[in-house]
Amino acid sequence: MPDGIMLCALDELSNGALGFDPFNDGRDTVFAVFRNGEVYAYSDVCPHYGDTSLPWKKNAYLDSRGEHIVCAAHGALFTIDEGYCVSGPCRGESLTPVPVTVKNNTVWLITSPTGENKK
């Protein structure tokens, strides 16, 4: 049994954030950020509308300093480690975390036994 769905090699995350399409939707639905030795992953959905993806182009999830996750629709800023919106339309709301694990330098999306990661 696999641990889940392979997202990428850990090295590939070293420059910031990447978007993924683990459930074959034809667009990125999950993104992951590597920060301070940890991988944080969230659904690529801004809580402002609840049906809008964040980046203005593929993988553009972070501000220029790599300090915050950004939604490009209206400039909302989220903390990387908690996905908590500190500025913007959805201030006080949070991104939905996606469970991931790192094994053998590979980032895996954990496929939940209850199926909540699956379409």
């Binding site: 049906d51 203005w56 182009k57 593929k58 220029s64 950004v70 490009a72 209206h74 201030r91």
Partner: protein
């Protein structure tokens, strides 16, 4: 006051290089280091958020730092200065333009317009029963065509008190409300244009105040489609569209952008004069789009008005 419409939008952004590239890919032309213009010379200016030449940002951090309106003549500048000087500071800058804050804290500028008059044709359409607009043997499209923005069209603000905003632009600057969404805000046009709107307000909680989107007029719906497709092909991500609005009838396609707001292409907007009676409709997908090629249930974020703010102004049409 012959305010024609927005002439320049000035931004202070997080990633200047990304915004410059976005502006070029959108179809604007670089004019100096910071300015990017449409065919008529109207456009945007892009600076780093901490650039010292910019006025302080709104407390919300919105990237819009100044909205500059074009007016017809010096007499209009003088009239605006006289009016706004009644209750606020109006500064005359070295270039002869003036600036002052509106009643919500947005910095405005007013300059004699430098926009070029364009002599271009609109998109031509043939239909049974109508005289052909495009003659025989003239082909409409070319695989490589990409529409070019012609003129800065309108700007949309999130505001915490739309009746206050509407009253300021109507009573102090001569804007007219052409249509409105109930409890959301008015579409407004200044006296110097017949465009359905150059300004639209969306009522939100105060922490959202800022720019929601801005857009340029294109030559027709096909230009909207080709310019938008070009953006998609370059890797930019659509936010809403393509589709066609009901109020204003303009075709639209919105893209997320590194400006911290959406950037739109629009075309074929309705024109109105003072004989028009403003319509009102509840907001929502049914009343904001005739059709949408990629459906979105929600079209604009909203929030309750602050205490004492709700409802349209007594004097409003």
């Amino acid at each position: 006051m012959n305010i024609i419409g927005p002439e320049l939008l000035i931004f202070g952004v997080d990633d200047v290089q990304a915004c410059r590239q976005f502006a070029l890919d959108y179809g604007l032309t670089a004019s100096g280091d910071n300015r990017f213009v449409a065919l008529d010379g109207t456009g945007i200016e892009v600076y780093a958020a901490d650039d010292e030449s910019l006025a302080a940002p709104l407390s919300t951090g919105s990237a819009i730092r100044k909205t500059v309106y074009g007016v017809k003549s010096q007499a209009d500048i003088d009239a605006i200065k006289a009016e706004l000087s009644k209750d606020r500071e109006v500064t005359t800058l070295d270039d002869g333009s003036i600036e002052a804050f509106d009643d919500l804290g947005f910095l405005l500028g007013f300059m004699i317009t430098q926009r070029k008059s364009l002599e271009l044709e609109a998109e031509k359409v043939n239909a049974p029963g109508a005289v052909a607009q495009r003659g025989v043997n003239l082909t409409a499209v070319n695989k490589d065509d990409v529409g070019v923005p012609r003129s800065l069209s309108h700007v949309v603000y999130f505001v915490p008190d739309f009746p206050k905003a509407e009253a300021f632009y109507r009573d102090r600057l001569g804007f007219v409300t052409t249509d409105r969404f109930t409890h959301v805000g008015p579409f407004m046009r200044p006296a110097g244009t017949t465009d359905h709107h150059t300004l639209f307000f969306i009522q939100t909680p105060p922490h959202m105040q800022g720019i929601e989107h801005f857009t340029f007029h294109m030559g027709g719906p096909t230009d909207v489609m080709t310019a938008g497709t070009n953006m998609v092909n370059k890797g930019y991500q659509s936010f809403w569209g393509p589709g066609r609005h009901i109020f204003g009838s303009n075709w639209f396609w919105y893209f997320k952008s590194p400006f911290g707001c959406n950037m739109e292409f629009d075309a074929d907007m309705d024109l109105h004069d003072d004989s028009w009676t403003a319509r009102e409709a509840p907001p929502g997908a049914d009343n904001s789009q005739v059709f949408l090629l990629q459906y979105r249930e929600k079209w604009a974020p909203m929030g309750p008005p602050p205490p004492g703010a709700g409802g349209k102004p007594r004097e409003a049409p």
